[in-house]
Assembly symmetry: C2
């Protein structure tokens, strides 16, 4: 068993100020060739997958960093055209889509890519998104997760609605597909009524790989029930181990094989040839964060007026509790606990979040980064990592050229792909078809 590595792609890098570096092209977020180049570097490095975050809303001040992006299933299709093995994971919202449309898009991406599609299932926090879809405010957290569960159930039915051997394409008899192997799903539920079948034959992977990233109680249950890979933000090894054990235990309680839920904490590496060089690079990035944007953004996450956050003081004592938060609950708690644990000022907290936004940042030499990865992996904190370079493409190139050889020398990461689909990269089975099971 070896590590699984996913590359998080976001314009000039995960650090919010990365676009301000001399090396960065601040218009890269709209440049397809740039994204294709990054995907090709990641494929040469044998990453399991690349991943795009998403929300159907313009978030925050467009001054802060490159914003306004290509819709992920479209961008990943453009990446599929120039790659052949690497997995392609898109974030999409169950709150602001219809299952027929979205299940179909992921089926299409899986067909187009020859079985490399993954869906990061999100319920989408925030009122800005809600207001783009006729609502005044986001639906309650618990309701979003109930809808998400039914959404995934409907999607699986749609992906299974064509049996794998439905198409016979018999020119002589003039029968293209067998009608009795193409099933209406006739789903009637609390949120959705969907007749089906999907208007697409079953895709190479059967279902796209299902990914989830919420770490609230609702989120962990959802992940344990449905997800095959979990992207998570963990600041400490101790928390990461607890999260890992918690999700695996829940998966077993739902009757699942815990090996079929891969836990991948985010890691934001800032790599230098010496530790001092790495720390200086990190400091330079943090220095470029514009505090007025970051403070407004933090205030929005914490549901307090921006003027209550004094840059040179700790967070106010009277913040809301996680129960009062209807948005990204686990992210909220992580940020507040980080600030309290390390007694950070708002300015210091902004620095930490500007780089990691809740994910673990690590500045060090290639050897130190490899050591951290190995330590977390061997400690039972992770099945792999969601690598989020602070600066792209350079942070990916350094990781591929200097960290991966160390991990390979230690037998921790593949030297070649052994499969062709994303499920094969992650060691996950192709799902059985629920309609074939019924027929037997």
């Amino acid at each position: 068993m070896t590590l699984h590595l996913n590359l998080f792609i976001i314009d000039t890098g995960h650090h919010e100020a990365s676009w301000r570096l001399p090396e960065s092209d601040p218009l890269s977020h709209l440049d397809i060739a740039y994204h294709q180049r990054i995907a090709q570097i990641a494929e040469r490095a044998k990453f399991d997958s690349v991943f795009l975050a998403d929300s159907p809303a313009q978030f925050g001040d467009p001054g802060r960093r490159p914003s306004g992006r290509i819709e992920p299933t479209i961008l990943l299709t453009a990446l599929a055209a120039v790659t052949s093995r690497i997995g392609l994971i898109a974030t999409a919202s169950t709150t602001y889509n219809e299952p027929f449309n979205l299940a179909r898009r992921f089926s299409s991406l899986d067909h187009v890519s020859g079985g490399r599609a993954g869906w990061n299932i999100v319920t989408t926090a925030g009122d800005d998104a809600a207001r783009n879809f006729g609502l005044d405010a986001q639906p309650a957290h618990v309701q979003r997760y109930e809808r998400a569960a039914e959404f995934v159930e409907v999607s699986k039915k749609l992906w299974d609605s064509w049996e794998d051997d439905a198409i016979v394409a018999d020119k002589a008899s003039g029968v293209h597909a067998l009608k009795d192997k193409v099933h209406p799903i006739n789903h009637v539920g609390r949120f959705f009524s969907v007749q089906g079948p999907l208007n697409a034959p079953r895709s190479p992977q059967g279902h796209p790989l299902l990914v989830q990233a919420g770490s609230s109680e609702d989120g962990k249950d959802f992940a344990a029930k449905h997800a095959e890979a979990v992207f998570t933000a963990q600041q400490t090894l101790e928390d990461a181990i607890a999260f890992y054990q918690d999700v695996k235990r829940r998966a077993v309680a739902f009757g699942r094989d815990p090996d079929h839920v891969k836990i991948l904490p985010g890691l934001v590496p800032v790599i230098g040839s010496t530790e001092a060089e790495a720390l200086a690079a990190e400091e330079e990035l943090d220095r470029l964060i514009a505090p007025e944007y970051a403070r407004a953004n933090l205030a929005k996450l914490l549901k307090v007026p921006a003027e209550r956050l004094d840059l040179d003081r700790p967070l106010p004592d009277d913040l809301p509790t996680e129960e009062e938060i209807e948005g990204a609950k686990s992210r909220y708690t992580l940020i507040v606990e980080l600030a309290r644990r390390e007694n950070l000022t708002v300015r210091q907290l902004i620095g930490r979040l500007g780089g990691g936004r809740g994910h673990k940042t690590f500045a060090g030499t290639p050897e130190q980064v490899a050591d951290t990865i190995e330590h977390w992996y061997r400690s039972g904190a992770a099945d792999g990592f969601n690598i989020m370079p602070a600066v792209l493409p350079s942070g990916l190139e350094v990781f591929a050229d200097q960290v991966l050889p160390i991990l390979r020398a230690r037998g921790l990461f593949r030297t070649e792909y052994t499969g062709t689909t994303l499920r094969e990269h992650y060691g996950l089975p192709r799902p059985a078809n629920q309609f074939e099971l019924v027929a037997v």
Copy 2:
């Protein structure tokens, strides 16, 4: 002024039995490389655009012909990756999408393709689609068109929500985009409430090219108000001229330049080196139509039980009127009028529809096809054509190699692209930004 030509791409060709020919690959509908090859042939031939039809439902018996396709905006993204000039037009429904999601997808396709996206706006007839989205039956025709009008209005606001010069990407000051050039749209209407802005900068064409294909009274008004290209099914030159004049007149009444609404009737050419050879090829295709599928399909369109359609008799006298049809009204009337005018039996009608499905079929030599095209064009029946080869890719290759040289020799079609965007190919202006106009 010269002709505009669009290529209609559908698996092995427009004729429903084309997949049964020895030359056809009956699995091509899921083969991206096949579609990429066709788009490249069309681009070498300097077609204005390629076009994909769509409905969010599995339509009819999957035995009949290849069905279950790649979602069009995804398939066109895969085509954009291997072409650089040809326009890319996807059909998408205003009844079964949300404006924010769909406007965003077309913006993305326009960004990805460097300004080559077009949207064929449809309201989607049929109860099967409705039942995939929580409804028991399709909304009434007039309501679908009212929703479509507001949907387009919202989409245009979203596409304009970033001014063209919003991005400054000033590394020194740390300002990426100017907040006061990114506008919430705050749309509140009968069908939609959308806050905006779109989470994407304005795309190369400003708006994708807007295409429409309905020919009912509602459809013609919609086209005259919003469409920049109209795909239409016309059987006779006389009807085509009347339609052309009608839509252009309505466009003028709405205050538009009639040259900014291009009328493109569908043409299904079956080409042979002699007329007899062409007719034999058409007959062979019609012979391969399985009447049991085609009769069921026709019965569905006409809203009568299949057993009332006797293959060897004319259509029953007591069919519903167009007013009673809530689906594809103009297609219904066209089919009934064709059968009555030419006194066709159901079997003969099925043959005509299997090839053309309401579009004009024309079997002949390259010279005869070019003559027909020129005659319709010079008679004021068309600004160009939606070319729907009965068999693909061979029907496209013959058209490109043998018909286009004749049209070029007559000065009727381009020898090179003069622009890079779809709007430039069609001679249409880049739309002004409504938010910039307000600000002036």
